[in-house]
């Protein structure tokens, strides 16, 4: 390989890495403490020969309205950073799961006042609830108010120890 080809290859790898970092930093419009990198929504970033950045994202819930905002925000962020064009693809498989949330992401959620998903997202029993700790006081004396919360990914809960109502990021 000629030297200039080698330099070009290194440049491409570096540019791809930079594109990945920029895309990964895009915040979730509905849970702004998490980025799409934290969520695992960002699946792949490729740099095409013509300089186009191709980004793979996966939806959390199939009807999640945040997806179109993600798409717009990723495109804007990459164009602003100087990439000439951006193409965003939605991939469905493997299906997104809250198991992809890192410990750091879970802690960010808790600090923000949202109880992080409790346990692993295995196939669940028809009835019966997760054990959810209150994000404010840590008590396990909590109860579900509604299976569905302000967004598709959350449920409404309340703490019977400190009386705080809170969002629970559902195990999914």
């Amino acid at each position: 390989m000629a030297t200039d080809q080698r330099i070009a290859a290194i440049d491409t790898a570096a540019a791809r890495m930079r594109a990945w970092e920029i895309a990964a930093e895009v915040p979730d419009p509905e849970v702004p403490v998490l980025t799409i990198g934290d969520l695992g929504v960002l699946r792949d970033v490729r740099l095409m020969e013509d300089g186009t950045v191709e980004v793979d994202i996966t939806p959390t819930y199939t009807g999640c309205p945040a997806m179109s905002v993600f798409t717009m925000d990723i495109e804007t962020a990459l164009l602003k950073a100087g990439f000439p064009s951006v193409r965003i693809k939605t991939v469905l498989s493997p299906a997104w799961t809250t198991d992809w949330l890192s410990d750091e992401a879970r802690e960010k959620l808790r600090a923000y006042g949202i109880a992080p998903p409790a346990g692993k997202a295995s196939r669940r029993a028809l009835f019966g609830d997760d054990e959810v700790a209150c994000p404010r006081c840590g008590s396990l004396a909590t109860e579900k108010v509604s299976e569905f919360g302000s967004t598709a990914c959350k449920a409404l809960w309340r703490c019977t120890a400190c009386a705080e109502p809170f969002d629970y990021f559902k195990c999914h």
Binding site: P59, Y61, T62, G63, S93, R124, L126
Partner: protein, 250 residues
């Protein structure tokens, strides 16, 4: 073969879209704020599933139709959804019974479809299965709460179950399209989930002190485009934007 896959995918898309549209009618009208949000969330899941399925159907068809054209520019007789999902919301009990019957079927259905030889259907199913689990819990818990509730709520819940029961037979209908796709390992044979479906309903109804009607005469027609009277009204509202402003995009 391709046309079988198109028809099959389109029926699944129509089921999801029409139920999503019906549930969306509750937005701003549900009994409590939490329930308003809950029903809208369930509607959103169905609409999301419909979008994926319509897009894939359009791809399979290869005639350049996208999700919007398939959902908003087809006529009544071209829709292949089952009659159950198009039934009017009625009172809250009827909405819950419709959801219970449908979700109790769709949860094992999606689970089996994850094993489909068609990778796209399997991927859509893997996501939809998780969502269906919530829908079943939600409608199951309400059925129990209303059935094992006051005399009024119990009577209404039982009426809703009796009213909608004859629409459940269609969930298990098998025609040439399904038969051929089952043989190819693409579709789910609905007969393989009948026992689980029935056991789920029995469990919920027992706890709700409600009676599940015996299997008798069942309504039919939706899969071949023969719909209830109310369906035309539903379409006229759902398709208004594309009819008034053809080709309009968000």
């Amino acid at each position: 073969m391709t046309s079988d896959l198109f028809t099959y995918t389109l029926r699944l898309a129509d089921d999801a879209a029409i139920l999503g549209q019906r549930l969306g009618e509750w937005c701003g009208h549900a009994p409590t704020l939490e329930e308003d949000i809950g029903l809208a969330n369930v509607a959103l899941d169905h609409i999301g599933q419909a979008r994926n399925l319509y897009s894939y159907a359009g791809e399979v068809e290869g005639a350049g139709r996208d999700e919007d054209q398939l959902c908003f520019l087809r006529k009544e007789r071209e829709f292949g959804n089952c009659l159950l999902v198009e039934q009017p919301n009625g009172d809250f009990a009827q909405t819950i019974a419709r959801q219970l019957f449908f979700s109790a079927f769709m949860l094992p259905f999606w689970r089996k479809l994850t094993g489909s030889r068609d990778e796209t259907l399997a991927a859509i199913a893997a996501k939809a299965e998780k969502e269906a689990a919530y829908h079943l819990r939600h409608s199951g818990e309400w059925t129990i709460r209303l059935g094992d509730g006051t005399a009024e709520s119990r009577a209404r819940m039982q009426d809703a179950i009796d009213l909608l029961w004859p629409y459940t037979g269609e969930l298990f209908e098998v025609d040439g399209v399904v038969e051929r796709l089952v043989a190819d390992g693409i579709a789910v044979d609905p007969e393989t989930i009948r026992d689980e479906w029935h056991a789920t309903l029995r469990r919920v109804c027992d706890e709700a002190t409600l009676t599940l009607p015996p299997v008798g005469w069942m309504q039919s027609g939706g899969r071949s485009g023969r719909h209830s009277e109310s369906f035309g009204h539903l379409l006229s509202e759902m398709q208004y934007m594309q009819r008034a402003y053809p080709g309009m995009r968000w």
